[in-house]
């Protein structure tokens, strides 16, 4: 019954557009409430697109401990050169100016 209901909703396009996620993606939504207030989606970190150019040890453990919730990542820390900002500073990788590249978790029902 529930499966059928989901299938019907999918048939009617309720779940469109489809969400895009890759194996290994990490969703960062610690500040989801305050981000939503300013119209920002939670962050999706794509592990695998980073893995093309960097080994795990480039970031783990020196920049990011491999523990859920261990890193308090904020934009002020990033523009201060910490966390993502160690690369995303306009020198190694692109600057943290393209909000929707990271704040990209598909919002159900919302028009982000």
């Amino acid at each position: 019954m529930i499966k059928k209901l989901i299938a019907l909703l999918a048939l009617l396009g309720v779940f469109a557009p489809a969400s895009f996620s890759e194996y290994g993606d990490v969703v960062m939504d610690r500040y989801a409430d305050t981000m939503a207030e300013v119209g920002l989606a939670p962050v999706v970190f794509p592990h695998w697109t980073h893995r093309i150019q960097f080994k795990c040890k480039a970031c783990h453990e020196s920049i990011f401990p491999m523990q859920k919730g261990a890193s308090d990542i904020t934009m002020s820390a990033i523009i201060d050169g910490q966390y993502c900002g160690q690369c995303h500073n306009g020198k190694i990788a692109w600057d943290p100016l393209y909000c929707d590249r990271c704040h990209s978790l598909p919002q159900s029902g919302a028009g982000h």
Partner: protein, 205 residues
Amino acid sequence: MNHRKNYRGVSTWARHCAAAVLLAAIVWTLSPPISAQESADATPSQETASDSVANPQNATEFVGEMYQIGLGWHPTALEGLPTDKFGLVDWVAALEQGLIEPRGSVQPNVPEGMPFDMNILMPSKTGMIAGAYFPHKTHTTWMSCDSCHIKIFMPRAGSNDLTMSTIVKGQACGVCHGKVAFPLNDCTRCHISQSDADRGDEAEQ
């Protein structure tokens, strides 16, 4: 045929057809399962099985979660990289084939230490499956020692009580495998026989 059109220019016949399809879909949704057997089969497979019924001749029929992820969407940047049986990127193969050149440091041109080369064969506890083979080299090519030691594994033989039942719960190997490293249902990438492990060691030398 000359159908009557309403003010939007849509024929009444087309509107009736659409309404009939919608009604049929709603009736189908609300209808009870065909048999009790069907619902009994469906409930556990939805919650527990990651690979229930699959036809190995046709990958599109695979129902396991990892196969579904493999068949799903992937970033354009990952196109052309070798894949495992799930259709997920085989990063070890990609590195061995020289298709990618990931660096070990955020900063460019930082010299990288040699990977630690020591293979560990953990004997099977049950005998119903081959022992598990752990190649340090493959792991330390990508990772630093402190990613695993000592917070996940004590670096001492016999001091880590590894079981699949804890690994599938996300402990030990399951901290990475099943989340970002290759999936846990790729059994024979770890569970290989002693003779296969010996052959692998000889091939390396």
